[in-house]
């Protein structure tokens, strides 16, 4: 379980990105952080793998305060997916996928076996695509490689920052379906940042709506659809909150 307890983040210069955020994500469940740009959703995500440090409050994973863990170790046990995949352009798809196993010092044979598994898992053909460079792949393929890279060392937690934000609607739909399939099979604890309401409601078990650095609404997709809250309704109609 990931738990955020009264977490605040103030950037140098005084901008308060988060104030008093508390969240809990149960093992094997997916939390979506929904909001407009600047609401603090990406900040929240990056606090969990300590790409930034909280100014106040406590974050724990499986009951252990992440402050007490080595950040490098912590990150190698958390999958990380970003918008447009963020693949290393000088590495082939396969080398990208094997990044974390390489950092962990796996043998080439073990890495190679794992690569094949992962390509199959994310629905990519290993023989034709493994040795391609990112600029020789489509946007959807790149995103799948990015996901495979995040899952490479089988981390219990995966963080995803607008993973499908830059894709066309058809590809996005396909990948979302694929996500639901993987989620059911892998049972990872996931945090998904998105500004797309439909995506949040479709993929997550819990959706937290962030406004100006605090949690304005939280609930299950079903619960949120049923609510009378004007804020949620504004989001659902696709307008600005």
């Amino acid at each position: 379980m990931i738990a955020l307890e009264s977490v605040s983040k103030t950037y140098p210069g005084g901008h308060q990105a988060l104030s008093d955020v508390s969240l809990e994500i149960n093992d094997g469940e997916t939390l979506a952080l929904l909001g407009t740009s600047g609401c603090g959703k990406t900040t929240t995500l990056r606090l969990i793998n300590r790409l930034i440090e909280a100014s106040a409050g406590r974050i724990s994973i499986g009951g252990r305060d992440i402050e007490t863990l080595d950040p490098i170790e912590l990150r190698r046990n958390i999958g990380y997916v970003v918008q447009e995949a963020g693949l290393f352009p000088h590495m082939t798809a396969r080398l990208n996928v094997e990044t974390v196993p390489r950092l962990l010092g796996w043998s080439p044979q073990r890495r190679s076996e794992r690569s094949r598994e992962l390509f199959a898992l994310v629905g990519l053909d290993f023989t034709t695509l493994a040795d391609r460079y990112p600029n020789q792949l489509s946007g959807g393929q790149r995103q799948r490689v990015g996901l495979a890279r995040a899952l490479a060392a089988d981390p219990p937690v995966v963080l995803m920052d607008e993973p499908y934000g830059a894709l066309d609607p058809i590809t996005r739909r396909q990948l979302q379906t694929h996500f639901l399939d993987l989620k059911a099979r892998l049972k990872k604890t996931m945090v998904l940042v998105t500004h797309d309401v439909e995506e949040a409601l479709r993929l997550a078990d819990t959706v937290a709506i962030l406004v100006d650095g605090h949690v304005a609404e939280i609930g299950t997709p079903k619960g949120l659809r049923a609510t009378e809250s004007s804020l949620v309704n504004t989001f659902l109609r696709g307008g600005d909150a």
């Binding site: 990380y80 970003v82 963020g86 290393f88 352009p89 950092l103």
Partner: protein, 518 residues
Amino acid sequence: MSCRLTRVARATAIAVYLLVTSDGAAGQTTKIAVGAKPFTESAVLAEVMAQTIEAYTDIVVERRLNLAGTHVCLAALRGGEIDLYAEYTGTGLRDILGDKSERISPGLAFATVAKEFARRFDLEWLAPFGFDNTYVLLMRPQHAAELAVTKVSDLSEHPLRFGVSHEFLSRPDGLPGLRKVYTFQESHTVGMAHDLAYQGLVEGSIDVTDGYSTDAKILRYGLATLADDRHFFPPYEAAPLARRDLAERVPEAYEALRLLAGRIDAAAMRDMNFQVEQKRRAPAAVAADFLGSLGIVADRKVHSERETGVFRLLYQRRWKTLDLASRHLMLAGGAVLAACLIGIPLGIAVSRRPALAKIVLGFASVLQTIPSIALLAFMLPLFGIGVAPALVALFLYGLLPIMRNTVTGLHSIEDRLLDVGRGLGMTDSQILQQVELPLAAPVLMAGVRTATVITVGTATLAAFIGAGGLGDPIVTGLATTDYALVLCGALPAAALAIALDWILGQVERWVTPSGLRE
């Protein structure tokens, strides 16, 4: 007690003598080095001195001709890189000692420099060669004969058109001072370029110009020189200027040099300059002929006549060129290598701190704007002459492109990729090695390529401070107006730069990650 001290002193003296005379790889043979400034007369005099020493001793004489100028020669002499060169008393008096006194006799000038150089620099002026290369007024011979003018004071009788060099027009020891001592009827006075003044005089558009008394052009145009009968012009007697230890270290060389005292008059010097500049003969050959005519050196062919065909000369010099090119490569390569070893880590370090990057790159840019020859000159007091100062100066030139491209290459990487690297659990050094350096490599390599081309070009100037390389024939050729020789340095240097640029272009392609190629 005093006995023991004497013994210690004697032992020390012997040890020092052995150290000084043994000179590493050369073993038993004593070596001395003769220097020269980059103009014909200085090179000819250096050859005259070198060949005289070689004729009377077994000493190996190294020629380090074409040192950039008075101050480079002086620095080299004081630093022990050369043992002697030909200097002029007037230059010593004015340019080095800063003496401004007017109407000083040749004897007094020599006595002054001899005394002051011994006291201040521990250097010795040997007896002058016998000519005074000072300013001289020149006329067409028929014109001078018509007016019965033989000396400067005769000019007061006639209204004449003066056309003199700009320098002569304004220097206190030029026309302004001359007017105080002599009376002229200047119907018309203009400043003009030296070569044009000769031309104008010959063609009759001016009547009087100034020159140097041993200038080959006096002979070439057959001009009349007017005697300075009131001794206005400062004396510029040429003499060997040597380290004071020369007489003790290599007494036989010192003795040999005494044979030259008073043996070269202005006409002989003018003729030797003429042979080199107009007849296109090598300074060594001209010096050998002259020494033969004096009976100092038995007539022996030192060098054949000068080759004027560029391609023939290039072919003749092919092994020499190869030798110079490898030295050139060593200089440029060493400098670029050092610039990489310092510039890349420094670039990486400052790229993390934008404010610092600005300061460091700004400083490197300032270094880059210093003219090459000036930068080389700045190195002299610190590193003497030869390879060391050249390497340091070339290194400083290579530093900016390498450092700037390292910073630019690193800054051009998308932040998102660095963020992903960190998010996946890479340490800072893993991000540098696995993400930043591979992605910055093409830009970084382009910087190395620029630095290499700049350095190969600038290294030709290193010849001015005695570092050798392909600049040697360029500088020698320029000094002795031998353009075929200039091209023997310039063409291989250009070819070297183009070849290296091409090779590094291939390296640049090779280090460009496949995923970044179009």
